[in-house]
């Protein structure tokens, strides 16, 4: 068991599943769906197994020896001439307290999204093949520790996502799909160029003592590895680290999505089928913030410290702007999409605090947003499947017609508002406490608290319009939840309530890594400070 490549297994399993699907005849829709369910089910079990065997005391972040379940072998090995550096790329996987919550989240959300995809009836085989390819891409991003590998997984998601929105989406699906694709490709172009720049700025020492350029992210985090002349090396007085940081940040920020790069999100969400909205909000948005924490922060701690106020500022703008936009929506799904923008703002704000409380809050908020928003989108999906409309104004009084559905939705709404006792409260509280404790963004934090108020405003108002009041006659025939819908909503509810009462279950996992991250940021001041000035 010790040497079993478990991270490769969890990442490549969906790809393997996709290959199996290709051999199942197109007409056997039930077998195709069941196979996908089994694959994602195994993935979830493996993710739980990972958690069970995870050592909470190891920090990770920039220290290769404290990563867990490491798999590392040489993947590309090109010996060079004198005029060109050797190219060595590792297949390097590993997880730490920053990635394991997201690995868990990915496995969980994918499994639930598979259940939610049961209603798909148009080219089922193609849908699930794309779905599984997407799954591999997402899982790969969270476990890759080599920048090159990370980038490949990052890009692998684009095409399946394009097709999933573009073929199985709503009326304006083509527009939404191409918009999503162009935005994210633009972002990844920036990531690519910084990746190559970093490659030429950091070296890794091989076993025989020679130094080679490297794509290894952990080597990039070690200031000792910078070359004297690299364009992104702090040792080079004319370095372009600030510009590169901004480019990289924008690349990731498009995915979050951070204002003003968020306009693809409402379109994509509204047009995507329910299951894909769930994946998009539950997992894909986290990649942006994960990327910033995994790449921008530890590789550019010096620049992060310089720009942290702006990160906080954009966090604040996201919170307020997203909430205000959400308030103005008439489409249920678009409302949830904008609430996502608002909630991802909390993650940015927490990250900007640079202290362990704020960063824990940010990571925890990533996980919670994944579960809560997934539940919200599922709720929208439930009503859309029955009523074929998402107009908030068209509903009313559903609580009497569908009491159980109303109950679950209430839970999700309250969790999104941040009601104490539910998981969303804890992470938002941590974010605010952490951010308030960091002097320079205190004012931003105070303004951001308005977001909570606005959040309660639009959520409760929506709740009132949809569930309270008199029932309209045309909805008198709506049925309450089916067994499949229970299976999707119950696990998420349990997690939301459990983490609300016992947040330590999740906070303990990430604790060591958060401390390691804070240490990187603090040490940066002394090390990079002496280099720069």
């Amino acid at each position: 068991m010790q040497n079993f490549p478990i991270l490769s297994f969890i990442t490549l399993l969906p790809l393997f599943g996709m290959v199996i699907l290709l051999f199942i005849p197109k007409k056997q829709e039930l077998i195709i769906k069941s196979t996908t369910l089994v694959i994602t089910g195994i993935q979830l079990v493996v993710a739980i197994f990972l958690l069970k065997n995870y050592n909470y005391s190891l920090g990770g972040i920039n220290d290769p020896s404290t990563f867990q379940f490491i798999e590392k072998f040489r993947w590309i090995d090109i010996s060079g001439f004198s005029w060109i550096g050797k190219i060595k790329i590792d297949y390097f996987l590993g997880i730490d307290g920053l990635s394991i919550p997201l690995v868990l989240l990915t496995a969980l959300i994918t499994f639930i999204a598979t259940l939610s995809s049961w209603t798909i009836n148009k080219s089922v085989k193609g849908y699930f093949a794309m779905f599984l390819l997407l799954d591999t891409g997402m899982m790969g991003v969270f476990v890759a520790l080599d920048f090159f590998l990370f980038y490949i997984f990052w890009e692998l998601m684009l095409l399946p996502m394009y097709f999933l929105i573009g073929i199985w989406g709503g009326p304006r699906r083509e527009y939404a799909a191409i918009k999503f694709f162009l935005y994210t490709l633009l972002g990844s172009v920036f990531i690519l160029i910084v990746m190559i720049g970093l490659y030429f700025s950091t070296t890794e020492t091989l076993a025989d003592g020679t130094k080679v350029f490297t794509f290894n992210m952990l080597s990039m985090m070690n200031p000792q590895n910078f070359t004297a002349q690299g364009i992104l090396s702090p040792l080079n007085p004319g370095n372009l680290r600030l510009i590169a940081y901004i480019a990289l940040f924008v690349g990731f920020a498009i995915k979050i999505p951070m204002f003003p790069f968020h306009t693809w999100l409402p379109d994509a969400h509204v047009e995507a089928p329910t299951a894909i909205s769930v994946i998009l909000a539950g997992v894909l948005l986290k990649m942006g913030t994960y990327g910033i924490l995994r790449v921008c922060y530890p590789i550019f701690p010096d620049i992060t410290r310089q720009l942290v106020w702006y990160i906080g500022l954009f966090g604040m703008i996201n919170i307020i702007y997203g909430a205000l936009c959400a308030m103005a929506q008439k489409d249920f799904k678009k409302l949830i999409a904008y609430s996502s923008v608002s909630h991802m703002g909390f993650v940015l704000l927490g990250m900007a605090s640079l202290n362990s409380m704020g960063i824990s809050g940010a990571i925890f908020q990533m996980f919670n947003h994944g579960t809560i928003t997934a539940m919200l989108f599922l709720s929208v999906g439930v009503i859309y499947d029955r009523a074929h409309t998402r107009g908030i104004e068209e509903f009313g009084g559903l609580a009497t017609q569908m009491p159980i559905y109303a109950g679950f939705t209430t839970l999700a709404f309250f969790a999104a508002i941040g009601l104490p006792g539910l998981s969303g409260f804890v992470s938002e509280a941590f974010v605010f406490l952490g951010a308030f404790g960091f002097g320079s963004i205190r004012v931003l934090t105070v303004i951001s608290t308005l977001g909570i108020l606005l959040g309660a405003g639009y959520m409760l108002w929506t709740f009132q319009r949809v569930f309270l009041g008199g029932l309209k006659e045309k909805w008198a025939s709506l049925k309450d939840l089916t067994f499949r819908e229970y299976a999707m909503l119950v696990p998420l509810s349990v997690i939301i309530i459990f983490l609300g009462f016992y947040p330590a279950a999740m906070l303990n996992i990430m604790n060591s890594s958060v401390n390691a991250m804070v240490k990187v940021m603090t040490n940066a001041q002394t090390f990079y400070g002496s280099l720069l000035h």
Binding site: W75, I76, D77, I78, G80, F81, S82, W83, I84, I87, S123, Y151, I152, E155, L156, L158, L159, Y162, F163, G166, I167, R173, E174, A177, I178, F181, L182, L185, L186, V189, L192, I193, I196, G197, Y199, F200, I231, L240
Partner: protein
Amino acid sequence: MNNNNLNYLVNSLYLIKPELVISAVIVLLVLVDLIMMKNKKLLPYLSVAGLLVAAYFIIEHFETNTFAFSTGSSAGMMIVDPFGNFFKLLIVFASILVVLFSVASTEIKNSFDRHGEYYALIFGMILGMMFMVSASDLIVIYISLELVSFSSYILAGFTKRSIRNSEASLKYVIYGGISSGIMLFGISIIYGITGSTNLYEINSLIQAPQVQSLTFLLAGILIFVGIGYKISAAPFHFWTPDVYEGAPIPITAYLSIASKAAGFALLIRFIKVTFIQSIDPEGFWHLLAIIDWKTFIIIISILTMTLGNFAALWQSNMKRLLAYSSIAHAGYLLLGLAVMSNEGITAILIYFIVYAFMNLGAFFVVMLIANKIGSEELDDYKGLGYSTPFLGVSLAIFLVSLTGLPPTAGFIGKLYIFIALIDAKMIVVAVIALLNSVVSLYYYIKVLKHMFLDKAEKEIPAFTTSYSSAILLVAIVAPILIFGIYFTPIVDLAKNSITLLGF
């Protein structure tokens, strides 16, 4: 001519074995065509066999690094070196595929009576291109260029049936004639200044500082016009969309790979050999200050890729779309040259290997689809992904690779270009090129949109591909995915092929 000179001639023959094989095959093709009037099935097999023999001789002498046809101490008319051999192999590889495409092409099948000419002309082009990539003398360069051009003029108008076919051919002749005339003028100026037509001799003559740089600049740019026309670099690209659209698809595919590759090989050799001053240990070239090639090439390449990409956005015909896309790719390739380093050349070679697979593959699918539905209009592609999933998915892979997204080989090609650019600190250029590739996504994805997202206006019955075509297609798709994930072999091949004679 004394006996001694004749000996040099005879002694050089073993160096041009591949070219001799190709010449022999031309004769053989014409003879077989004459003798077996009724049965033309043999011709493509004969062609492939001849190409395989040629490939064998190229590989046998791959590491050779010497002049051919040199009289004693002076530099020769031709060079046999790994760089040239790489391009010869690439040309042979593309030719084999194109011959196989021609067998499957309905368009070519319909001109059954003239198959003999068709294959003989293709071999004429091959011969010309092989001399082109190994020429070290301006006269040989010009003659080989003309040999390629004349063969391709006829091939472009080969089917003769449609008006657009003849139109393509005529446009090609006119543009080609003018640009080769301009090139010849440039050559004559250089000869006038230096008194030599040999690139190596010219190089040593112009090291002296008193060379008239303005005249030389003019001559260099005039010669570039001739080559730029072959690689369809802007602003000499105007023939490309029309000819690509009008020519039979196998020939279009051939022009987009083989003659472009030969043109690039010639351009690289011409600039490097003629204008080099020294190469530093890092592999960067220091050229003579007579012509600022670096700035010139950067401007041309940015112009080429931007123009190609933006013009492609509006195309509604697959062949025209791929024509503009091939112009854009010429722009990316020129960037590799603009770096003016060995690393940049490596990137170009890698790009060409990848580009050969993906572009030939894309044209092959377009051809197979045209065989069935008789159209290359994008509007007729609606819903095709469902009536022929195999071709649809293959085309999707080729187009994604042309966009340069991982995990396809196209990404590796682009990656190496950008690595070379960033290593040379040409960051602004790299950013422009990357933004260009975002633009290109839009039109490549537009094809996928038509095939998979849109509903067919009139139902296209599901159709299958013949086994032989399917096998060939898989053989082109597989390397794109394999090299995308494991690219060591192509990089190694490219690195071992950048040796030009003398450097």
